[in-house]
Symmetry: C2
Subunit: 300 residues, 2 copies
Amino acid sequence: MFAITILGNNSATPTELRNPTAQVLQWQDESYLIDCGEGTQKQMVLYKIKRSKISRVFISHLHGDHYFGLIGLITSLGLQGRIQPLYIHAPAALEAIIQLQLEVANVQLPYPLHFCPLQHEGPIVEDNKIMVSAFKVRHRIECWGFLFRQKKHPRKILPEAARLHHIPAAFYEKLQQGLDYTAKDGVVVANAAVTTEAPVAKSYAYCADTIFDESLAQKVKGVSLLYHEATYLHDLADKAASRYHSTTVQAATIARLAGVDRLIIGHFSAKYDELDAFLEEAMAVFKPTELALEGVCYLT
Amino acid sequence: MFAITILGNNSATPTELRNPTAQVLQWQDESYLIDCGEGTQKQMVLYKIKRSKISRVFISHLHGDHYFGLIGLITSLGLQGRIQPLYIHAPAALEAIIQLQLEVANVQLPYPLHFCPLQHEGPIVEDNKIMVSAFKVRHRIECWGFLFRQKKHPRKILPEAARLHHIPAAFYEKLQQGLDYTAKDGVVVANAAVTTEAPVAKSYAYCADTIFDESLAQKVKGVSLLYHEATYLHDLADKAASRYHSTTVQAATIARLAGVDRLIIGHFSAKYDELDAFLEEAMAVFKPTELALEGVCYLT
């Protein structure tokens, strides 16, 4: 399961009630931070997200509303006495900005800070539980989306059934992989007789600031949860295009084309006080849509 | 009159209820921002401080809790379509940090941004109404205090009395300066007979992060309002000294030595939830002390 908590759902400038973009993705004992607008560390305090648990930060692009809160978080983690490493996956130019700010303050972080510049589309983090890939999205400056995909779980062995069929433990790993068992006497035990389906591997795709771009649907095809920006209502489609942003209808169209299970929309322009129309417009195109609301945790 | 609104009163890291250092000084139609910790622009929205009115920003030093909010404010002002210039008085190294962040985002500000590096103690802004001076304070890195001093108002002419004594209008400016009038027949009209005292010129001194340093008292002597940091209660005087910070008692001692009218203390360590003890300890040494509370406007 992935749990995504929205810390900021606004575009460009903060308003009294909404903050610039930041999200936390938690699963098992890991926490990843996705974008980090100004004020993110305070939002983490407010919504009881343990700052110390964050192991990796993913920054989509270097417009301030997506990263101005990062230097504050990095220095606060130092003041907290963190010792475990922090990995920053971001456009390459971010490293110099952070280093310069640490330097002028004469700050020696007590933990290793690893910059992992985004360079090519494809996997950027992989272990036996998860794979994170980066993909390009079309915005005014270099901008990346991120796809978080759980590794497929092995099938679950039914121990009593397996014993009944005298399957040796040495074959259990192959059972988990879905293979049938053939006994010495040639009798075949169908895999389905001794295992059950594993829970579906979940996937979350994060599409930060982007113009409407149908080719994106291919990159996020079939994910269980998609976040796609929707800066404007659809009557401002021209304005959205001129600023390399998307509308409600466009975000929902990508979700429909990609055949995702659910959609969250966010990055709302500061000009809107009420968000109800965002939900209505998007749901008319793609029903399983929700608004990205600050403090709310979306599970998949 | 000066009106100082506290936007952040915390040190180092923000807490759920307190923000890093920022203050706005308003007088007549001018607004100055003094320090600009992360989240300052949001605090300005919350407390109805018009961001567009800020003409100058004064940054005491380059620890993040005093300037991480500046780049967000600068870019938001651009998005608001500001055209009037903004002056930044700050340690020289800040310019490269800001320029680099504007550059990677490909931002062209629609208004002129003037960097005025702090280099020597003494006046940094002066017109016919105000003089702002910078002075050095002792902290772990280069750090500056600021002294805002209204120009002495001219004496106020009593028009009826002046006419009664047949004083020509050409002499009125000299009356305002306090001179007596000598008529052609040698009769002297005492200035006090035709003018009244001007209101007292107010002054505000801002002492950002500093170790306890008695020489500071001379620099802020007799101001009508002094802000002095008090990061810790006095039982942590050793810790304060080791980190180049001050305690309640030390801040109040500077106020007493300097003979100021009133003192505000702030920059409270995030470790304290309750602030009552700060006020008690400081008032025991210097009675006219107040806590710097967010959203509160202090007048002098």
